[in-house]
Each structure stands twice: as structure tokens, then as C-alpha cells.
């Protein structure tokens, strides 16, 4: 481990030059001969009955090749986690993103014009837009056949005895916190091109983050269309960000397939920025009741949380985020007694999806805010309370997570030291410090039956290798990480490693880019394949050099004898000797890595991940008492990453996560009014800009995870998890007001300050 030459080095992302020069081919850039352009007609109302639909004018428009409606889709075909979403709607529309019809035409402009010629008549229905209202008796039913707006997906976790623990607690706090709808803001908008060959085998050019699972979805769709036994190939273009948004398949993709079937031409559907805002699936809003207790010494006794999540009109993975929320709820700090109940509720809003953190940011905002309240009540410094209850290696948490490596205390200490916590806490002057910690899966997550990833390595005649991995690069840099791992193991320059990761026809299976799993799982798969092919290489070279394989190694693409440095053979030469001989052979190795983690049992317990990532963020703020504005003066983000395979990319993940968290904390909110999105653009959706970035120190804590590739754990999501509560806690330290509803806008801070001072505004 000490002699690493490529792993652990700051190596720029391989695709950076392509992206910086504009030569990367995104789905937007893709052109296929004969390709048509598809556009979708969305509902005008969030809840209405369709009483008339006339597409005849649109069909007559020159340049239009097909117009499709629900009647062109197989009657009972539904998509989504609960199969509650027909790709084209008939009868009733449930949200403003409901797809009613679609057009394929020879240009996007003609397709757009055709949409305006489609006549839809509606009978508006009373809607329900607030999950709390939607749960009440008599609320308009979204899915009438479901008989209730509460999803039949009950989330309940019970560990120990919360009621008994309450009686024994010296201090108890209770409060309610809420978080808004926020969207991923991928710079590359959604899109696909569907192409069918003469035998109706489908190729879908896509920017999905789950190629193998999506393949399965489309095979099902083709079956529904009566096309049994067809092949589906997914080819990913360069993906301009996903952050969880592309974890499911969507109506627009099925519509593209339908239009391609109708027209016998490739059909491209690419979202405009407006569509990207209102017609993709964001992180849902939540309302959380939390109570927390500790004993006289400040040891946590229980944590109880009750949560309502706005599911929106249909069901995607957003509905399953409570499963990951359970992770911080049961296991962030040592807390013996835990109870958590969550309900997802249908409304006439957009429908929710996973977004970086998968529920963890919502849960951690409540937990870490509440923990500061508890510290104040117990008269303990919030830092000491955290340290006292911090997780440790070897611990088995109430949800049965087996904590292996754990750098939580180190992270907290880094924050305290670098922020000058003791010098700055409670010092007034409108300045304050706050902190929050995180736990997240860092060694895969067994949410499906498999958590695996396959890798194939093929060696060419020149000593270079092609690595075929199931893991998609969605901008996070997995291609670079995998190349580093393979180059390190094989002792070849990183430029000699070619990574192929975007075609299901040639890449092995992978469950998808989620759960911060790619470096860990795909990294281990690449490691395994590289070790296998290295053993083969050494065996061949051993014969050629008349040595034992065990006494050989590879450096800079040359096999050499450890005992006798005179004895060398370049990799390419060894490979050619293997090829160009009677009874010759080629070199190829495959490896499938599936971590030894567990699915949750019926009680939602089990060791979901083989290792857990930790971190702590600390922030110093200054609050302008007259305007309510919050300025971040200093930001420390310390992360236990196991081992930094590439510190440059790792820091990028921490900065990017921190900034996304900052947007969540202080600015971002999708403003829905009665089901209509009011700020579906970058002007009014307050995503931070480069000028809003505070000074961020990314601190890397290495704990050498035994199961990780070279000791690494996942880091994709953790960067944004503790940002919002750290800022909320710092604001409280600065001016004594606690904002419990994200985002923390100047209006809310000023109103809270006025309330505290017993004033109302003039």
C-alpha cells in the first residue's frame, strides 16, 4: 500500500478536456440519419377529467409523422415502482406534468407547432396539494382505485423501547421540521433516442444511470406492445449530471419508443430547460416530528421520528427514501432506542424521485437540528454531546449495521480545530458556529437482491487494456477511478487503460449508479478483474523468462523479475508471443463483485452496507440582523472516505456536495402553488452561483476500510447531507433564532428575529 504510484494521486478527470472544449457528445448532440423529433403535450390542469381529445389538426400539419395518445399505448401498461403511472394519460390527469399526447415530426419546431393544434377539453377537479390535507378524510382522491391518498408502503422501524426510554431520560426535546421540493438541476437535460431495427429490437440512446435495470423495463414494455423476446440495447451518451434523477425510466422514454414503432424511424425526445424543471422527478418535501432524549451525562437515550412525505401524483423511488432515512435515524450517533414511522402521500404535485442523499438530507436536518436543541436543554456544548455519542469502529447499531472503519470522531475534531470552535462558539456579534455530522452507506447498499457489478478486462497486442465495466460515469468520475485502480494493479501507465462503460451490448451487468456505491463496488470489481488478468500475465511471462510467477511483477508496462532485474519483457511482447504461436491464446478476465451486505428483513433491519461513510461539517456564519441575510464566513467539510483513490476528484465531490447542500439550506425551493410550478427557471429557482461559494475546506480523513478497493469507501452523496443543519445551528449560535423550515431565507430569519424581539414589522 505504501508504494502506490497511481492510486492516491491527484489525476484530472479523463473526460474533462472533452467537456471543457465542447467536444463531448451529449444526448442533445446525437443525430441519427432519418431521425424524427418528438414533443409531449402536458396537462393544463393539475387535476382534471379529460372530456375531449382531438388530434386531427395536428396530424394534418405538414412534417408531422405521428401523433400518439393513450389509445396507442397497451391498455394496462403502467410504469414506476407501484405501477401506478400510465405513460400517456386518459380519463383523468393528476398533475401538470401528465402526458396526454405526443408528436413525432421532422423538426422540433414542427413538433412544437403540432402540439398547439391538439385540442383537449377538460373538466377541472378539486385538487389536493398538501400532504397533510391529502391524508384527511374527504380529501379529493388522487388514485380513486387506491381508495386512500396514503401509499400502501408503510415504513416503520422500531428498535428497543422508546416509551420506556422517555421515562428514564433527564432531558427531552420535541419539535417539527420541514423541507421543500428541490430539483437536481442537471445541466444536461433529460432525453433519449429510440431506434428499432427491422426485427423490432430496440436501441435506446439514453442518459440513464441504471442501464441494466432500464433494459429490463424496456423489455417489459416491448412485451406489453406484443413484441416478445426482443433484444434491448442501451447506449449512454455523455451524461450531464444525474444525482438520482435518472434512477428510473420515465414516460418520455416509452413515448419515444411508441413513436419509433409508429413511424419506423429513430425518434429523439430532449427536454427543454422548462420541462427539466416541471416534468422531471425531484426530491420531495417532508414534514418531520422528532423527539430526542438524553440522560444527565448527555448520553442519547432515544430518538423518535414521525414523517410525512409528499409522494406527488405517481410513485417512483422517492417513495422508498424512508428506507435510507432509517440509516441516520437509527444509527447517526449511538442511540439505543429508536422509533420511526413514515407515510408517503399522493397529491396533485409532481412526483418524487431519489436525489443525492436519498432521504438522508431531510432526516439529518431534523436530527442534527434537534440534537443542538437537546444540547442546549442539557447544558452541554453541542460539540461535546456529539463526541460523547459518536459512532465507533466495531459497533453494531440498533438497526444491525456493523460498523467497520469509522472516522466520525476524527471528523468532528477536525471541524472543531479548523473552525476554532471553542474560540468562536457563543461569542455573539451576530456571528456564530454550528456543526452537524453524517452517516451514509459507504460500501454499497443491498436494496435489490443483487448489489453487484461486473467487469471484463481484455488485453491487446501492445500491452494496453480495455476495461468493460457495468458502472456508468454520470459525471462523478468513475471512469477515472476505475482506470486508476486497473493501472495500479497491472503496473501500466493510466493512459494505457481504456474504460468502456456505456453500452449494454458489451458491458457486464451492474445494478446502477446509486447509494454512493460505484467506487466501492465497481472499484472492487475492477480490482478483482485486474488481479485475475495480472496472474495470467505473470504466468505467461514466467514461462518466457524462465522464472516463477511469484517472483515477477510489472512496472511501467514491463514484466520484470524481482530477483534479477536483467530479466524483463515488455507486456506487449509477452502478449504477442501468446497470440502468434500454434495453439495460441488471448488474455481476458472477468470478475463479478457483489458485496457481502444484507437486504433489510421485514422489520427493516440488517447490515445494508459492508461499510459506512462518516463526516462532519462545521460552518461559521454572520447574520445581518437588519436584512436577515446569512453570510457563510468559513466552511469545513471533513469526511471519512476510507482512502482517497483520487484526492482531486474526491475534493470535487465534497465541494460539489457542499454547494448543493448550501443551495438546499439557503436558497432552493420549487414553489408549487395549487399544483403549478411557479419558479421553473434558473432565475427564480435560487441555485447558488459560483459567486455564492464560500471558502470551503475539504478535509480528508482516511480510515482504510478493509473491504474497500485500496481501502476506499463511497463519497458521492455524503457531501450535502449535513450542510443545512450545520448552517441552521450556526445561525442559532449567531442570533438565537432557529429556522426549522428549509430553505433558510432572509425573510424567515428576519421574521424570526422580530418575533424573538417581540416586535412586529411596521
Amino acid at each position: 500500500m505504501n508504494n502506490l504510484t497511481i492510486v492516491g494521486k491527484k489525476i484530472p478527470k479523463r473526460d474533462a478536456p472533452l467537456k471543457a472544449t465542447g467536444s463531448a457528445v451529449y444526448i442533445q448532440d446525437l443525430k441519427i440519419p432519418g431521425m424524427l423529433h418528438g414533443k409531449i403535450l402536458y396537462s393544463k390542469y393539475p387535476h382534471a377529467r379529460i372530456t375531449g381529445l382531438d388530434t386531427s389538426m395536428a396530424e394534418k400539419l405538414p412534417g408531422v409523422r405521428a401523433v400518439v395518445t393513450a389509445s396507442d399505448m397497451p391498455a394496462n401498461f403502467r410504469i414506476g415502482v407501484m405501477k401506478d403511472n400510465p405513460p400517456l394519460k386518459t380519463g383523468k390527469v393528476l398533475s401538470i406534468r401528465d402526458e396526454i399526447a405526443a408528436v413525432a415530426a421532422i423538426s422540433p419546431e414542427i413538433a412544437e407547432e403540432a402540439l398547439s393544434l391538439i385540442k383537449v377539453e377538460y373538466e377541472e377537479l378539486p385538487g389536493t396539494f398538501d400532504p397533510l390535507e391529502a391524508m384527511k378524510e374527504g380529501a379529493p382522491l388522487i388514485h380513486e382505485e387506491a381508495k386512500s391518498n396514503i401509499l400502501k408502503m408503510p415504513w416503520k422501524l422500531v428498535c428497543g423501547d422508546v416509551e420506556a426510554a422517555k421515562k428514564e431520560s433527564a432531558f427531552i426535546v420535541e419539535d417539527t421540521f420541514s423541507t421543500p421540493w428541490v430539483t437536481h438541476c442537471c445541466l444536461g437535460t433529460s432525453g433519449c433516442v429510440a431506434q428499432l431495427d427491422a426485427k423490432n429490437n430496440l436501441t435506446l440512446y439514453s442518459n440513464t444511470q441504471i442501464p441494466s435495470l432500464a433494459q429490463n423495463d424496456y423489455i417489459e414494455a416491448l412485451n406489453a406492445f406484443g413484441l416478445k423476446g426482443k433484444r434491448v440495447r442501451i447506449v449512454q451518451s455523455v451524461i450531464g449530471g444525474a444525482f438520482g434523477s435518472k434512477l428510473d425510466t420515465y414516460a418520455y422514454e416509452y413515448i419515444a419508443i411508441l413513436l419509433a414503432l409508429k413511424t419506423r424511424k429513430p425518434v429523439k425526445i430532449v427536454f427543454s430547460r422548462e420541462e427539466e424543471f416541471f416534468a422531471t422527478s425531484p426530491r420531495q418535501c417532508t414534514i418531520t416530528k422528532i423527539s430526542h432524549g438524553c440522560d444527565k451525562e448527555g448520553r442519547l437515550t432515544f430518538r423518535e421520528m414521525e414523517m410525512v412525505l409528499d409522494n406527488g401524483a405517481y410513485t417512483s423511488w422517492g417513495a422508498t427514501t424512508p428506507s435510507v432515512m432509517m440509516l441516520p435515524i437509527s444509527s447517526l450517533y449511538k442511540v439505543p432506542n429508536v422509533k420511526y414511522v413514515a407515510k408517503c402521500v399522493y397529491t396533485n404535485n409532481t412526483y418524487s424521485q431519489a436525489m443525492r442523499g436519498y432521504g438522508n438530507p431531510q432526516a439529518t436536518f431534523a436530527i442534527e437540528s434537534s440534537l443542538d436543541q437537546l444540547a442546549e436543554k442539557a447544558g452541554i456544548d453541542p460539540y461535546e454531546l456529539r463526541l460523547k455519542n459518536a459512532n465507533e469502529p466495531g459497533e453494531i447499531t440498533p438497526q444491525r449495521f456493523k460498523i467497520t472503519s469509522c472516522g466520525m470522531k476524527e471528523c468532528i475534531d477536525e471541524v472543531v480545530k479548523r473552525l476554532d470552535w471553542k474560540g468562536k462558539k457563543g461569542k455573539g456579534g451576530n456571528r456564530g458556529v454550528g456543526m452537524a455530522s453524517l452517516i451514509h452507506v459507504g460500501g454499497g447498499a443491498r436494496v435489490y437482491k443483487s448489489d453487484g457489478c461486473g467487469t471484463i478486462i481484455k488485453m491487446d497486442d501492445f500491452g494496453k487494456v480495455d476495461v468493460f465495466t457495468g458502472a456508468s460515469d454520470i459525471g462523478q468520475g468513475s471512469e477515472t477511478i476505475i482506470a486508476q485502480i486497473v493501472a495500479e494493479v497491472l503496473g501500466i501507465p493510466i493512459d494505457d487503460v481504456n474504460v468502456i462503460n456505456n453500452d449494454t451490448d458489451i458491458c457486464p451487468w451492474d445494478v446502477g449508479v446509486h447509494a454512493s456505491r460505484t467506487t466501492f463496488v465497481a472499484g472492487n470489481a475492477a480490482l478483482g478483474a485486474a488481479k485475475k488478468i495480472k496472474a495470467q500475465i505473470l504466468e505467461i511471462a514466467a514461462k518466457l523468462l524462465e522464472e516463477e510467477p511469484a517472483s515477477l511483477d510489472i512496472k511501467n508496462g514491463v514484466v520484470f523479475s524481482v530477483k534479477n532485474s536483467e530479466k524483463t519483457i515488455p507486456l506487449g511482447k509477452a502478449l504477442r508471443k501468446l497470440h502468434y504461436t500454434l495453439g495460441g491464446n488471448m488474455l481476458m478476465a472477468e470478475y463479478f463483485y457483489d458485496p457481502a451486505n444484507e437486504n433489510f428483513d421485514k422489520e427493516f433491519k440488517g447490515n445494508l452496507s459492508v461499510s459506512y461513510a462518516y463526516g462532519a461539517h462545521g460552518v461559521e456564519v454572520e447574520v445581518d440582523r437588519e436584512t436577515g441575510k446569512v453570510k457563510i464566513l468559513n466552511y469545513i467539510a471533513a469526511h471519512d472516505v476510507g482512502k482517497a483513490i483520487n484526492p482531486m476528484l474526491l475534493e470535487g465531490q465534497i465541494y460539489g456536495g457542499g454547494l448543493m447542500g448550501l443551495g438546499y439550506a439557503l436558497g432552493e425551493k420549487m414553489i408549487y402553488e395549487k399544483g403549478y410550478l411557479k419558479n421553473g427557471n434558473f432565475l427564480d429557482y435560487k441555485m447558488p452561483t459560483v459567486k455564492d461559494i464560500p471558502p470551503v475546506q475539504a478535509v480528508i480523513v482516511e480510515t482504510d476500510e478493509k473491504d474497500g478497493p485500496f481501502g476506499a469507501k463511497g463519497i458521492g452523496e455524503p457531501g450535502l447531507v449535513p450542510t443545512a443543519p450545520a448552517i441552521a445551528n450556526a445561525i442559532y449560535d449567531a442570533v438565537g433564532v432557529r429556522i426549522k423550515d428549509l430553505p433558510i431565507t432572509p425573510e424567515k430569519v428576519l421574521a424570526a428575529l422580530r418575533e424573538k424581539e417581540g416586535q412586529t414589522h411596521k
Partner: protein, 325 residues
């Protein structure tokens, strides 16, 4: 997006003639507003007449007062050293509009003629007593900027007319100005509220302001104002303009009148803030709540005024003061 014809006249006269001869034509300069409206289908012109190739329209002339050609870009204004020192409010506005890329193409004429209540350069031009020189089919005319804005997107321009330039008087060294753009983000944002101020001051003895150094400290505004009061600082002349609080950028004339001729004091500034707030009709929108905007008028009018004073008494340091104001 429908296609349109595109003309590139070389002179104002040619542009005006084209406008007169083509039905449904639209002037375009930097295009940072026009192209957005086009994409949002708020306009659908059959033809665009670009003003970018008219060479004598983008000058900045500082020989006597200030004359800015309407096609001068925000970047050009932002980088002008004379404007930085003598017309600080305008510099404040041009440095905070959109992004660098937008400022490189967006023109001051476009920002004013688009007549958004939130237009960043409008409030500075109002407090700097700017007059618009307008050229049209019937010849040229001059209009005080306060008479130029009629409502959201509505100006006093008649068909075919072009704003040729903005003319501002010369201000002596006892005058300072400032514009505060209150936003949620540091860039790429429209103001929740925009406040511009200009103040001309005199000190009793005519000597230097003794409490000058307080401006470099974190002392409160009211303490500084108390000291200015002790030193007998008087407001000789004042302008206050407010954006996003009415259908058009407006002057707070009652507040200006209440300030002019008075000795500066904390009480006076509180009162001025209240009066200005009373002159506004802010509304609730997704960008900001009415009560908050009204509150911010009180805060920011005070801050814009003291920032202006700061620029008079510390002209060398006060261009980008790091203080809260």
C-alpha cells in the same frame, strides 16, 4: 421559434427608416432581454433591426458631465474609471447586473428601454438626474428619465424612436452616490429591491470630516450618524430612487424633500427610511414578500445614503467598501 429577418443598419437614420418601412419590426441591441422574450413567445417579430453596428452609439464621454451612448455595454461602463469615482451608483449597478457574459453584450439603452421595474441601471440614472436624448422619425427630443418610464415594459418612446444617449450633469466632490441591489444570490439575479441614492453634503466649517475613520470600523450606522450630527454635516441636495416597489422605477420625492437642507442624524435617517417606505407600493411575489420589501426600503435607503456619504469623505477607499452597506 419562428424565423425572422435580420437587418444591420450602419446609422441611426437608417435604423429609423427601416423601422418605419417594415410592419412588425423589433429593435434589438444586446439581445439579453429581446431573445428571452422571443423564446418565451411574448414577442414574435417578423424582423429584427440590430443597433449593434451603429458605430456612434456606444461612446462614454466624460468631458462635461457624462454622456453615455445607449449602445454602451454594462462592461464598458463598469470599467470606466471616471464613472467608478464620480458616478458610483451607476458603477454599482453595472457591476451587479447578470453575469460577466451578459454584461459584455447587454447595453444600457436596452436595460432602460426594456423598462422592467427591476432594471438595475434605472435607479442610478434617476438619482444622477439623467436625461434621455431620443431620436425618431420626427426628429430628436430630450426627456428627463423620470418622465421616460410609464409602467412595466412601457416607456414614453413613440413608434420608431431610439434612445441615442443618456446625459448626466457634472457633480462636484461633495456629492456621492450608491446603488444597493438586494438579491438572494451574488450574481445572475434580479433585485428583490433596488435602492439608489445621491447626496451632496456640506460640513459646518468646510473642513475635513473628523469622524472619517469610523467608516473603516464595524461601528453601527447610528453611532456614525450621531457623530456626523455632532460635526454638523448637512444634506444640501439628495435623490433617492427605488426599484421593484412600483410598476416602474420611482423616485422617493417626499423622502428627498425631507432630507434636503437638514443636518444629518440617526433620527433623520430613520424618518427618511419610513417616508420612502411610505412612497412605495411593494407587492407579494415569488421573489419577495411585500412586508419584507417595505422593511428593506427602510434599511437600504439608510445604507445607500451612508454609503454615498462614505464615498464623499473617503473617495479613495470607498469604491468597494466591505462593510455591510
Amino acid at each position: 421559434m419562428r424565423g425572422y429577418e435580420y437587418f444591420k443598419p450602419k446609422t441611426i437614420e437608417e435604423a429609423i427608416k427601416l423601422m418605419g418601412s417594415i410592419e412588425g419590426a423589433q429593435y434589438i441591441a444586446g439581445g439579453t432581454d429581446v431573445m428571452v422574450m422571443l423564446r418565451q413567445k411574448k414577442i414574435a417579430p417578423r424582423c429584427m433591426i440590430s443597433l449593434r453596428n451603429i458605430s456612434d452609439l456606444s461612446y462614454i464621454d466624460t468631458n462635461d458631465g457624462l454622456r453615455i451612448g445607449s449602445a454602451a455595454t454594462h462592461s464598458a461602463i463598469e470599467e470606466n474609471e471616471y464613472i467608478k469615482r464620480r458616478y458610483c451608483a451607476l458603477n454599482d449597478a453595472t457591476t451587479h447586473l447578470g453575469s460577466r457574459q451578459i454584461r459584455n453584450v447587454a447595453t444600457i439603452g436596452g436595460n432602460i428601454c426594456n423598462a422592467a421595474p427591476s432594471a438595475d441601471t434605472a435607479c442610478p440614472l434617476l438619482v444622477l438626474d439623467a436625461r434621455a436624448i431620443i431620436v425618431g422619425p420626427k426628429g430628436s427630443r430630450e426627456l428627463a428619465l423620470d418622465d421616460f418610464f410609464l409602467g412595466p415594459g412601457k416607456t414614453a418612446l413613440e413608434k420608431g424612436e431610439i434612445v441615442k444617449e443618456f446625459v448626466m450633469p457634472r457633480f462636484d466632490e461633495s456629492t456621492g452616490s450608491a446603488y444597493i441591489k438586494h438579491t438572494r444570490r451574488q450574481a445572475m439575479d434580479l433585485p428583490i429591491l433596488g435602492i439608489a441614492a445621491r447626496i451632496t453634503i456640506s460640513v459646518k466649517s468646510g473642513s475635513e470630516v473628523r469622524c472619517k475613520d469610523m467608516f473603516c470600523t464595524i461601528d453601527s450606522i447610528s453611532n456614525i450618524l450621531s457623530r456626523l450630527k455632532e460635526e454638523g454635516m448637512r444634506c444640501v441636495d439628495a435623490r433617492i430612487a427605488m426599484g421593484v416597489v412600483a410598476p416602474r422605477p420611482i423616485r422617493a420625492k417626499k423622502a428627498e424633500a425631507a432630507l434636503t437642507g437638514k443636518i444629518i442624524s440617526p433620527e433623520l435617517f430613520e424618518e427618511i427610511g419610513d417616508i420612502a417606505a411610505g412612497e412605495a407600493q411593494p407587492r407579494d411575489s415569488i421573489r419577495g414578500e411585500a412586508w419584507y420589501r417595505r422593511e428593506m426600503i427602510r434599511v437600504l435607503v439608510k445604507r445607500a445614503l451612508i454609503k454615498s456619504i462614505d464615498r464623499v469623505i473617503r473617495p479613495d477607499e470607498a469604491i468597494y467598501p466591505e462593510r455591510l452597506w
